[in-house]
């Protein structure tokens, strides 16, 4: 309930009033819409929880448990979007034996709204990914991979717009450079384009042409790289673009204890979040929108599925 207090507390303190515990119901019939964004990344075929074998993550995660958690949140919130930021595949025998079929079927059951593509999603080859896609009832969003000369031509979209209670949420995907990371025999003729350039272009398009109120990037670029500061990351993306409001990330398996708030080229804030890996964590960000005003994240919580 802290987040509910927060919005009221903030507004009151803006008037110099003392904060107090005030129920959220005062906002119920006001022009505020709450958008609840849930996200996972790098689930790596972790269908079942980690086994109880004394290892570091024993008993954590599990898609079936995540399902009840997501359902509970859906039951209490009006505007829920659920995303995955790539590396759905590879890591347990479920992928080796069934090629990702079960992972995508389960995500469809959980009503994922969209995902992006991670490097390991090519582990069954681009043909393997293609063959599994019909098991997903949600789109694969990727704006900086050009699949023109591959079997995935026209099978992915750069972005999708979700309209929630009149609010237009533009969501696009960005993937990591594949050369040097994924054998070319797996990704074949996929062309990689600079994520900053593409990110800037697409986010502007979403903001100005598509009139989006909020722009979210599903990224598999990685949060940041301590040993390679030049390597493009979510932090680079946030700081070198103009119209991205939120970056949901992956690849670096980063368990964040709070979102990283960066400043974009226009001096506006960009929220970066990531939810560890293996479905141990479900990220949650509540974004509040007021009519005619740009929404900002005022409450973010990351929930552990243990």
């Amino acid at each position: 309930m802290r987040r509910r207090d927060f919005i009221v507390r903030t507004t009151l303190s803006g008037l110099g009033l003392a904060s107090g515990s005030i129920p959220f119901s005062v906002l119920d019939d006001h022009d505020i819409t709450r958008l609840t964004i849930l996200h996972t990344n790098d689930v790596h075929s972790r269908v079942e929880p980690f086994p109880m074998d004394g290892s570091r993550n024993e008993g954590q995660g599990g898609v079936s448990r995540r399902a009840t958690l997501v359902e509970r949140i859906r039951n209490s919130e009006d505007n829920v979007l659920l995303f995955d930021c790539g590396d759905i595949f590879q890591g347990t025998p479920y992928f080796n034996f069934f090629g990702g079929e079960l992972e995508l079927k389960l995500m469809s059951e959980l009503k994922y709204d969209a995902c992006t593509i991670g490097n390991h999603d090519f582990d069954g080859g681009i043909d393997g990914l293609h063959d599994q896609m019909p098991n997903a009832n949600f789109p694969f969003l990727i704006a900086n991979y050009d699949f023109e000369n591959t079997i995935l031509k026209d099978k992915t979209k750069p972005y999708k717009i979700f309209v929630q209670n009149g609010i237009r949420v533009g969501v696009f995907g960005l993937g990591i450079e594949l050369a040097g990371l994924v054998p070319k025999a797996l990704y074949k003729e996929t062309q990689y384009h600079d994520p900053i350039e593409v990110g800037n272009k697409i986010s502007k398009q979403l903001r100005y042409d598509e009139k989006c109120d909020f722009v979210i990037c599903l990224s598999h670029l990685g949060y940041k790289y301590r040993n390679d500061k030049e390597k493009v990351s979510d932090v680079h993306l946030a700081e070198n673009t103009e119209e991205i409001d939120m970056i949901l990330g992956g690849h670096t398996h980063t368990f964040m204890s709070e979102p990283d708030i960066r400043t974009n080229k226009k001096g506006e804030e960009v929220v970066i979040n990531q939810a560890g890996w293996a479905g141990i964590m479900l990220g949650r960000l509540d974004v509040f929108f007021e009519k005619n005003k740009k929404g900002k994240c005022v409450s973010c919580k990351n929930t552990y599925v243990v």
Binding site: G14, L15, G54, A67, G91, V182, S257, F288, K296, V298
Partner: protein, 251 residues
């Protein structure tokens, strides 16, 4: 809630949001964490969907093929799990290729579990340790290319390497390199057993792509599983080597 209070609050809210404009929503993010313990319910319908896949896997994956006497962790620059894994690779590579081989190694990201827990080692655990369909290739590298590989290992913070190799990491370079007890010699050629993923240039090892190479169709995962399966009953307990093979120099 009392309607009057509600209206007052609503008024305050409207005034404040109007006067403070965007500042109302400074991105001062309120974070909280919910640790849900494993009493957390599973979704019955999903469990039903998973069940047929699970039962197919369990039949094969739950077979116990070794006993691990103590948890082995993976870490940089050197680790017990990395030692065990690369030694097994070297032993099997020598057997498979029928020649003496100087060293073996595995890129750090190629081992996908943070640790191999104490107790039963199942086929499924080896799948999780090495989920990739990588094959074990033999490379013959000249001295300068071998040095490049060692420097790459150093720059990456250390990889699992076989007992025949040791080195220090000095910044991003490998120094004090010993191969089979002798100093590394840039004028020699060396044989290295490693994953085709790396030999193909993966993990930024593009300079290996032109190395003289022998291939074999066996998957590393299957090689390791058979390595354990083929041990006699008296050898089922994994022998751990805790030697630190790579040291990071600190000044």
């Amino acid at each position: 809630m009392n309607r009057q209070i509600k209206n007052v609050l609503l008024f305050i809210l409207l005034v404040s949001t109007a006067s403070c404009s965007k500042q109302v929503y400074t991105a001062d993010v309120d974070t909280s964490y919910y640790r849900i313990n494993y009493k957390n319910k599973s979704d019955k319908d999903l469990d039903k969907l998973i069940a047929p896949y699970k039962s197919q896997l369990d039949a094969q994956m739950n077979e116990v093929i070794a006993i691990n006497p103590e948890e082995m962790s993976k870490s940089r620059p050197s680790s017990v799990l990395g030692n065990w894994f690369s030694d097994a690779l070297l032993e099997e590579a020598i057997r498979i290729y029928g020649v003496d081989i100087d060293m073996s190694m595995q890129n750090y990201g190629g081992i996908r579990i943070p640790s191999l827990s104490k107790g039963d080692v199942t086929v499924g655990k080896i799948y999780e340790l090495m989920p990739f369909d990588n094959k074990l290739v033999l490379l013959e590298l000249d001295g300068p290319t071998t040095k490049k590989l060692f420097d790459r290992i150093a720059a990456k913070g250390g990889w699992p390497i076989s007992h025949t190799l040791s080195m220090d990491i000095d910044g991003e370079k490998a120094t004090n390199i010993k191969i089979k007890g002798e100093d590394f010699d840039i004028n020699k050629t060396y044989t290295v057993a490693l994953a085709d993923y790396v030999a193909d240039g993966g993990d930024d090892c593009f300079f290996l792509a032109d190395g003289k190479r022998t291939d074999n169709d066996l998957l590393i995962r299957d090689i390791i599983i058979d390595h354990l399966k083929n041990k006699s009953d008296s050898e089922k307990v994994i022998v751990q080597d805790k030697t630190i093979r790579i040291k990071t120099l600190k000044y």
